[in-house]
C-alpha cells in the first residue's frame, strides 16, 4: 500500500468503530496490544534521529504485526519529548525511542528539570551504542592523535576546536584535561555549521557525532583520529579509540526503547521481545553500522543500571566540562 496515511486513517476509523461497539471498558480487558502503538521521537521528521526511529518502527511493525505510529515531539534538545513520555499512561502504548545517554544527562544539564530522571523511565530494550569522534581537516598534516596533540601543545591557546553537542563538548574537555592542551572551544549549533570554518583552517580539530564524522570522512573532507568509546566498535574496527592512544575516556552514546516507569509488566515484556528480535536482525546491524554504531543487546535490568550509572557519570563529566546546570 503506497499511501500509509490512508491505511492509518482506515485503521483509525475501524478502531474507533470497534471502540464504540465494544465500549470503553473492554479496551483494558483485552490483551496488549489492542490499539496503535506510538513511538515518540524527540526530533523533527526527517532528522537523523527520526531516521533511526522510523527504521525501528518499521522493523517492530513487521515483527509484531501491529500498527506503529511515529510521533515527533521536537524541542529543547529532547526535553519536551522526554517530559511527554514521562507523563504518558504507563500502558505500553507510548514508547520513547531515544538516546538513553540523552536522558541520563538531564540532571547534569538542568538545575530544575521538570521530572526526576532517576525515577522517570525504565528501559524496555537497548538498540545501539556509538562513539563521538575527534576529526581534523583532511588537508591537515596530522595523521594520528599523537601528532595532533603535539602540535596543539605547541600552539597553546592559539589553537581552536569545534563542538556542537553536549557529548562533543565533554569529549573535547576530557581530551584537553588528559593531555594538558589549552585549545579554545568554539561552539556551533549543528556540526555541519562548522565545516566552512574547519576547511578554511581557522579550526584545528573538532569533536563531533559519528553520523556527521563518517559522512565527512566518506566525502574525503575530514579525517577521524580517535573515537570516544573504550573499545573499538565492530562498525569501524579500524578506528583507534582515544583510550588506546593514551587518552583515557569511555564516552558511549546508546539508544534504547524506554517506557514510563511502572509500565504494565506483560506489555513491557512484549516490547522487550519485539525490540530484541528487531535489533538482532542482520539488516539492523547493517543499518546501525552505517550510523557508526553497533547493536547493543542488554537485558532491561542491565540497561536500567546503565541508565542510573550514566546519570552519575554525566554529573562528573559536566564538572570536567565546566557545564553549569541551568
Amino acid at each position: 500500500m503506497k499511501f500509509s496515511f490512508l491505511k492509518r486513517t482506515l485503521g483509525a476509523a475501524l478502531l474507533g468503530a470497534s471502540a464504540l461497539i465494544g465500549g470503553q471498558g473492554s479496551a483494558q480487558a483485552q490483551a496488549y496490544p489492542n490499539q496503535d502503538i506510538r513511538f515518540v521521537c524527540a526530533f523533527p521528521p526527517g532528522s537523523g534521529a527520526d531516521v533511526i526511529v522510523r527504521y525501528m518502527a518499521n522493523a517492530v511493525q513487521k515483527i509484531s504485526g501491529h500498527t506503529i505510529v511515529v510521533e515527533n515531539k521536537p524541542g529543547a534538545a529532547g526535553l519536551i519529548a522526554t517530559e511527554y513520555v514521562v507523563r504518558a499512561k504507563p500502558d505500553g502504548y507510548t514508547i520513547f525511542v531515544h538516546a538513553g545517554s540523552a536522558v541520563s544527562n538531564i540532571p547534569a544539564l538542568y538545575a530544575k528539570p521538570p521530572f526526576d530522571a532517576r525515577k522517570a523511565l525504565e528501559v524496555a530494550a537497548t538498540i545501539n551504542r556509538q562513539p563521538f569522534m575527534i576529526l581534523v581537516d583532511a588537508k591537515s598534516p596530522y595523521k594520528t592523535l599523537a601528532e595532533l596533540t603535539d602540535a596543539m601543545k605547541k600552539k597553546g591557546d592559539k589553537a581552536s576546536y569545534a563542538t556542537a553537542a553536549t557529548t562533543g563538548k565533554v569529549m573535547g574537555e576530557i581530551y584537553k584535561a588528559r593531555t594538558g592542551i589549552t585549545a579554545v572551544e568554539v561552539e556551533y549549533k549543528t556540526a555541519p555549521d562548522s565545516i566552512n570554518d574547519m576547511l578554511s583552517g581557522r579550526l584545528d580539530y573538532a569533536s563531533h557525532d559519528p553520523v556527521f564524522a563518517l559522512a565527512q570522512e566518506r566525502e574525503g573532507r575530514m579525517r577521524i583520529l580517535g573515537v570516544s568509546t573504550a573499545e573499538r566498535l565492530a562498525a569501524n574496527p579500524d578506528m583507534k579509540t582515544m583510550k588506546e592512544q593514551g587518552v583515557d575516556m569511555d564516552l558511549t552514546g546508546w539508544w534504547a526503547a524506554m517506557v514510563p516507569i511502572g509500565t504494565d509488566k506483560a506489555a513491557k515484556a512484549k516490547i522487550t521481545e519485539w525490540f530484541q528480535k528487531a535489533v538482532a536482525m542482520p539488516e539492523t546491524k547493517e543499518f546501525l553500522n552505517k550510523f557508526g554504531g553497533d547493536q547493543l543487546q542488554e537485558s532491561p535490568e542491565e540497561a536500567d543500571k546503565r541508565l542510573l550509572k550514566d546519570i552519575d557519570l554525566w554529573i562528573e563529566y559536566a564538572k570536567i566540562a565546566k557545564i553549569v546546570p541551568q
Binding site: M1, K2, F3, S4, F5, P44, P45, G46, S47, G48, D50, V51, R54, V70, N72, K73, P74, G75, A76, A77, L79, I80, E83, Y84, L109, K112, P114, K158, S160, T166, V184, V186, E187, Y188, K189, P192, D193, I195, N196, D197, L199, S200, R202, L203, A215, R218, E219, I323, V324, Q326
Partner: protein, 505 residues
C-alpha cells in the same frame, strides 16, 4: 563541451523523471502541498513535515518528485494566504504580504496571485538550469563563507530589513532591534544558558515562528477589519479575465522578476539565512529602483513579482549545498535530507557520481514540480479569490480556527497558543502606534544567526574585530551595508530636515 553535458544530463533526468506515474506523483504532491499550505496557520515547513510520511512508501525517485511537488505547493500555498488574509507562513512570504495583501484589498488579489505564480515559475525554470549548470562550482563558493562573512551578511540583511517599512526609518530600526532581542530568547548556543525563557519548557528552543507571525499579522489583521465601522468587503472581481495580468501589468512585473530571480539564485546557495534574505533583498532593490518608492507598501506589483521570484529561485538553488555537499541549508532542506536518508541515500557528492539518474532526475523533477504548480494553480486562483467574497463574519472565525489548530498540531503545546495571544496584543499596540511589524520579524529571524556568528568570529580572532575587515567577503559585505544604509537614511534625514525647517518657518 560543458553545455552539451548539461543537456545530456538533463535528458537523462527527464527520461527518469518524466514517466506518467512520476508526473502523477508530482501533481498529487503539488495539490496536497497547496491545499495544506493554503490553510492559514500552517506554514510551508509544518505542511511539508505533515505530508512527508506519505512519501516514505514510494521508490526513491518518485518519493523525491512527490516531495518536490509538496514543497513547491506548500510554498505557493503560503504565498496565497499572505496575499489573501495577510498571514505569512514563512519568513519570505512576509515580504509578499506587504504589497500582496494591499493589492488584494484593492480588488487585485487575482492579479497578485497570478503574477506570483508566473514569477515563481519563471524563477523556478531559471533556478533549475542554474542548479544543473553551476551546482558544483557554486557549492564551492558557498563553502568560502566563514563565520565572519555570515555575520556581515546578517548585518547587510538587517540594513535591508529597514526598507520593508514605509513609515519612519527610526521606528523601523527600533523594530529591527526589538526583533533581534526577541530572537535571542531561548537556550544560548554558546553557553547553554537560558535567556528570557522564564523556566517555560517550550521557550527553551526560542520563540516559535508561527505563533509570532500569526499573532502579529493574522490576528491583528482580523482585529483591524473588525474594528471598521462597516463589515469589510474586499472588492471582488467577478470577471475571469480580470484575474489575469494585463500587458501593462506584465511589463511592470518582468524586470523585477528577472532581478529577483538573479538575486534569489545567488543567495539561495548560502546556508542559513540565504533564501530568506533573497526575498527582501529583492524588495529593497525594487523599492530603491522604483521611480516612486512611496507606492511600496500600498500594493506595488513590483513588490510581489520581485520577492516571489527571488524566493522561488532561492528555493531551487538551496538544493545545491544539499546535493553536492550533503549540507542542508535551511529547515526545508533538512527535511529533504531526512527524506533521502529514509530512502537509504546519503546526500552528498557521491549521489551525483554514483546515481546520476537519481540526481538528474531530481533536478528534472524541480522543473516538473514548478510546471505542475502553474498548471494547477492558475485555475485555482479563481477559487481562492472567490473565497474572499464569503462574508467576513463567516470568514474570520474560520481563519482563527485554522490558526490555532495549526499552531497546536505543529507542536502539541497549548502554551504556544498563549504565546500567539501575547503577540497579538503586542502587535495591536504596535499598529496603533504606527510601528510596522515586518522589519521586526526579520530581525527576529536573523538575530540568533547574527549573534552566533559574531560571538564565534570573536572567539576565533580572540576578540579582535579586525577579523571582519581582513576577510574579503565580509569586508565587501560590510561596505555594501554602509552604502545601503546610507541610501536608506539620507533621504529620510533630508525629509526630517525639511520637516524641521517647516516647523521653524
Amino acid at each position: 563541451m560543458m553545455d552539451l553535458h548539461i543537456l545530456d544530463n538533463l535528458a537523462t533526468g527527464f527520461v527518469a523523471a518524466a514517466s506518467l506515474q512520476n508526473i502523477g506523483f508530482a501533481l498529487i504532491g503539488c495539490l496536497l502541498g497547496t491545499l495544506i499550505g493554503v490553510l492559514p496557520g500552517i506554514g510551508p515547513i509544518p505542511a511539508i513535515a505533515m505530508l512527508l510520511p506519505i512519501t516514505f512508501g514510494l521508490d526513491p525517485l518518485s518519493s523525491l518528485i512527490m516531495l518536490a511537488g509538496i514543497y513547491y505547493g506548500a510554498a505557493y500555498g503560503g504565498s496565497t494566504t499572505s496575499i489573501l488574509v495577510n498571514i505569512p507562513g514563512e519568513a519570505s512570504s512576509i515580504v509578499t504580504a506587504i504589497d500582496g495583501h494591499q493589492m488584494a484589498k484593492q480588488g487585485k488579489a487575482g492579479l497578485a496571485l497570478s503574477v506570483s505564480a508566473l514569477g515563481s515559475f519563471f524563477a523556478g525554470c531559471v533556478g533549475t538550469v542554474f542548479v544543473a549548470a553551476f551546482g558544483p562550482p557554486l557549492a564551492t563558493l558557498a563553502q568560502e563563507f566563514n563565520s565572519p562573512d555570515y555575520f556581515a551578511l546578517m548585518v547587510l540583511g538587517l540594513a535591508m530589513a529597514v526598507m520593508l517599512a514605509h513609515g519612519s526609518v527610526l521606528k523601523a530600526v527600533g523594530m529591527v532591534f526589538i526583533g533581534l532581542l526577541l530572537g535571542l530568547a531561548g537556550t544560548d548556543v554558546n553557553s547553554g544558558t537560558q535567556r528570557y525563557t522564564f523556566g517555560i519548557t517550550f521557550l527553551f528552543d526560542g520563540i516559535d515562528f508561527l505563533p509570532l507571525v500569526i499573532g502579529l499579522f493574522g490576528i491583528v489583521e482580523i482585529v483591524r477589519n473588525l474594528e471598521m465601522k462597516e463589515a469589510p468587503r474586499m472588492t471582488v472581481v467577478a470577471r475571469f479575465r480580470d484575474l489575469w495580468p494585463r500587458l501593462a501589468d506584465l511589463k511592470d512585473a518582468v524586470k523585477p522578476a528577472l532581478r529577483g530571480t538573479f538575486l534569489g539564485s545567488l543567495l539561495g546557495i548560502l546556508p542559513g539565512g540565504g533564501a530568506v534574505l533573497a526575498s527582501f533583498a529583492s524588495y529593497t532593490m525594487e523599492k530603491k529602483l522604483a521611480k516612486d518608492p512611496s507606492r511600496f507598501g500600498k500594493g506595488a506589483i513590483e513588490g510581489v513579482a520581485g520577492p516571489e521570484s527571488a524566493n522561488n529561485a532561492a528555493a531551487q538553488t538551496s538544493f545545491i549545498p544539499l546535493l553536492t555537499l550533503g549540507l542542508p541549508s535551511n529547515p526545508v532542506m533538512a527535511l529533504m535530507m531526512g527524506a533521502l536518508m529514509i530512502q537509504g541515500l546519503q546526500p552528498g557528492a557521491a549521489i551525483m557520481t554514483k546515481q546520476p539518474d537519481l540526481f538528474w532526475g531530481l533536478v528534472a523533477s524541480m522543473w516538473i514540480g514548478n510546471l505542475m504548480l502553474v498548471v494547477l494553480n492558475l485555475p485555482l486562483i479563481g477559487i481562492w479569490v472567490k473565497l474572499l467574497s464569503v462574508p467576513y463574519r463567516l470568514l474570520f472565525p474560520a481563519i482563527l480556527l485554522f490558526c490555532v489548530v495549526g499552531i497546536y498540531a505543529t507542536n502539541s503545546s497549548p502554551g504556544q497558543i498563549g504565546l500567539m495571544a501575547v503577540f497579538s496584543v503586542f502587535g495591536y499596540i504596535l499598529v496603533k502606534f504606527g510601528c510596522e511589524p515586518a522589519p521586526m520579524v526579520l530581525g527576529f529571524i536573523l538575530g540568533p544567526l547574527m549573534e552566533e556568528n559574531l560571538r564565534r568570529s570573536l572567539v576565533l580572532s580572540r576578540g579582535d574585530p579586525i577579523i571582519f575587515l581582513e576577510r574579503p567577503i565580509s569586508a565587501t559585505l560590510l561596505v555594501i551595508t554602509v552604502i545601503v544604509f546610507g541610501l536608506i537614511v539620507l533621504p529620510a534625514f533630508r525629509r526630517g530636515r525639511e520637516q524641521a525647517f517647516q516647523e521653524e518657518g
